[in-house]
């Protein structure tokens, strides 16, 4: 592994909250500082942005079980194209990743096929069925970085509190999905004028707050480390703020789709806009964007969920939920910057620094000693998205034909250029 000197770069440093023109030196896969270096390969960044690679918590790679929707190889290529250097993968596969044996399979496949870091999460309960605890200790030893049943709420609070008690004793992170499970059953949209006019079964946005309220109480009761995967409503934010102020070990994320789209985007029953939880009102969207800017919401994720055409070409109520996002996360997030809601270091705090910290990783920083996981991008370059040019096997993006700004120009994982290969192979 050689030496690289990135010159003439607009360095985006979320740790210091600064951006400045300068250079960055890398040796043996790690950042060594900003100074010059003899004999290094020189990358002229042309004044474009160089930032820590994105750490994306909650990526679904459909292996095992649904490899026709997405494989480690295709997801890895999408990640590189989107400047995501670490995928934290979800266990909602078929079967669920709930034993060390399945986790071992995932790690092996990931190492073989994906050019970026893959950190697997494991199920909190067996089969994600919410009845019996998964082998949290074994799974931790096998390399699980967090435990989650994904979009299935562990409805039985007794089971959930035992899981969190056990998890707390091992110091592992539990990721929850905040929804009152019975109230939200069968819902395809958020209650309101739009859902009612379209005749869609809907759930009150209050169901998210109810779910968060319960989880906060269980976290307080058990002392577990907890992260809410997606907080998407203004009503829940006040509870989040209070819980953080009370000193609980609790953080929250949000998907890029809830930050950039609202319920009206569904339009004439467009199923690529069906996600879980459903898209919210514009008021909620704005509130959540502001919460990211203020730091109340810690993490932005793509919530990358591949679905094939067959799962989506159905009446809205029957269609599968979820949207792909690995490759569109960066340009979509640039809307928050161009819209004047936050600057680039603040955005990168949520895309890279905070998720790294929450998982105890060294990434997300530009300081000496940090891994050289880097993304070079032009924040302004405009383009119209063509979903068939995305690297994911599934093409279910809500941004098809959308005008976007922000292009990835380069991507390095531990100092290795993974971006140039992408062009050569495709």
């Amino acid at each position: 592994m050689g030496q690289i000197l990135f010159q003439n770069a607009r360095l985006i440093d979320p740790e210091t909250g600064t951006e400045a023109l300068g250079s960055l030196a890398v040796r043996d896969g790690r950042i060594t500082g900003t100074g010059g270096m003899e004999g290094a390969e020189v990358v002229d960044c042309g004044g474009k942005c160089l930032a820590p690679g994105i750490v994306d918590i909650g990526v679904k790679v459909s292996e095992p079980g649904e490899r026709h929707k997405e494989s480690f190889r295709s997801a890895g290529r999408a990640a590189v194209a989107g400047g995501v250097t670490t995928m934290v993968t979800r266990p909602d596969t078929l079967p669920a990743i709930d034993t060390p044996e399945v986790l071992e399979f995932v790690r092996r496949r990931a190492n073989e096929a994906a050019p970026v870091n893959v950190l697997p999460m494991a199920a909190l309960t067996r089969g994600r069925e919410g009845r019996e605890m998964a082998e949290i200790g074994f799974l931790l030893d096998a390399g699980a970085v967090a435990f989650t049943d994904c979009d299935r709420v562990v409805a039985n609070t007794k089971v959930f509190s035992r899981c969190l008690t056990y998890a707390a004793s091992l110091g592992v992170l539990v990721i929850g999905h905040c929804q009152e499970p019975v109230l939200s059953e069968g819902a395809a949209a958020t209650s309101g004028k739009f859902a009612a006019l379209k005749g869609l079964p809907s759930v009150s946005p209050m169901a998210e707050r109810m779910g968060l309220d319960r989880d906060i109480a269980v976290v307080e009761m058990t002392g577990a480390r907890y992260h809410a995967d997606q907080i998407t409503t203004a009503r829940a934010l006040t509870r989040l703020e209070r819980a953080k102020a009370a000193g609980l070990d609790l953080t929250a994320g949000v998907s890029i789709h809830h930050l950039t789209l609202n319920e009206l985007d569904v339009g004439d029953y467009r199923t690529f806009f069906k996600v879980k939880p459903p898209l919210r009102s514009e008021d909620d969207r704005i509130a959540v964007v502001e919460a990211v800017a203020s730091g109340l919401i810690d993490v932005i994720s793509s919530m990358h969920t591949p679905q094939d055409e067959e799962s989506k070409r159905l009446p809205f109520e029957e269609a599968a939920s979820g949207a792909i996002g690995l490759e569109t996360l960066l340009p979509a997030a640039m809307r928050l910057v161009h819209g004047g809601h936050m600057d680039l270091p603040t955005l990168w705090r949520a895309l890279s620094l905070n998720p790294s910290r929450r998982l105890g990783l060294e990434t997300g920083r530009l300081s000496a000693g940090a891994p050289a996981d880097l993304v070079l991008f032009d924040p302004d370059a405009p383009f119209v998205l063509d979903r068939f040019k995305l690297h994911s096997k599934s093409k279910n993006t809500p941004f098809d034909e959308a005008r976007m700004q922000g292009k990835v120009l380069g991507c390095w994982v531990a100092g290795r250029d993974v971006f140039t290969d992408l062009g050569a192979e495709s």
Binding site: K193, A196, G199, L200, E310, R313, L314, P315, F316
Partner: protein, 318 residues
Amino acid sequence: MSFRARHLLGIEHLAPDEITTILDLAESYAELNRSDIKHGDALKGLTQINMFFEASTRTQASFELAGKRLGADVMNMALGASSLKKGETLIDTALTLNAMHPDLLVVRHPHSGAVSLLSQKVNCAVLNAGDGRHEHPTQALLDALTIRRAKGRLHRLTVAICGDIAHSRVARSNIHLLGKMENRVRLVAPPTLMPSQASEWGVEVYGSMDEGLKDADVVMMLRLQKERMDGAFIPSEREYFHRFGLDAEKLAHAKPDAIVMHPGPMNRGVEIDGTIADDINRSVIQDQVEMGVAVRMAAMDLLARNLKAARAGEGVLV
């Protein structure tokens, strides 16, 4: 002629003059239907397929009769049981039928938006005969024609729509239509059967029949589905009838010449008192059924004209 659409999927996107065009033509078909020889040839040689993914006797019969009176070859397909159970998707079913070259596809489906989805995959005209809780456009049109004939106009009337608004596609289509024609629309329902933000629809929202019916010109009752009666949305059938069922006492709050409507089939003694339903001075429920055939003849006639024009390369379709 101002109706230029390719499909009839809902009232929401129709313009007032398009609605008037359909109603005017339906008026002439109402006359035809009362004559001895009830035959037209507007659909002669065309194939009409009725696809009902949800059981229906009345609407399907009405569409079938409308098509036959205009000379179409009509085929009925009840799909609730067969293909869906075999795992065939809606799109596959549509493509299969499309290969048989139908000209008019009449579709009812239990899910909102399903008929619109299907219309994107076929190259014939599609009529929505009810999709989930979304729209039931021919019902709103036949209601409008019934009102226009009974009241002599279809504007500046006060119309109270009462009952299970939340789950009703009939209510949604009527709210669109009556609003477009500049009527005052009131919704009357218990809060569990009222959509959460109905007041934002440009209608007046009431929780009591006495207030909601006050000085109304038209009282439109909705059917309450059996499965919603006991405990889930309302405490009981008898409490619902007591508070929201239409009887003579409640109707007395409306104008003396107010008409009573119901899309059928009725639950007598639940949402409507039998004597009111049968009162020939107030109830226009039988007229609704009669106008249903006429309106469907008109809608299919107009769609067939647009289809033929499009096939002739006139490119009028929007």
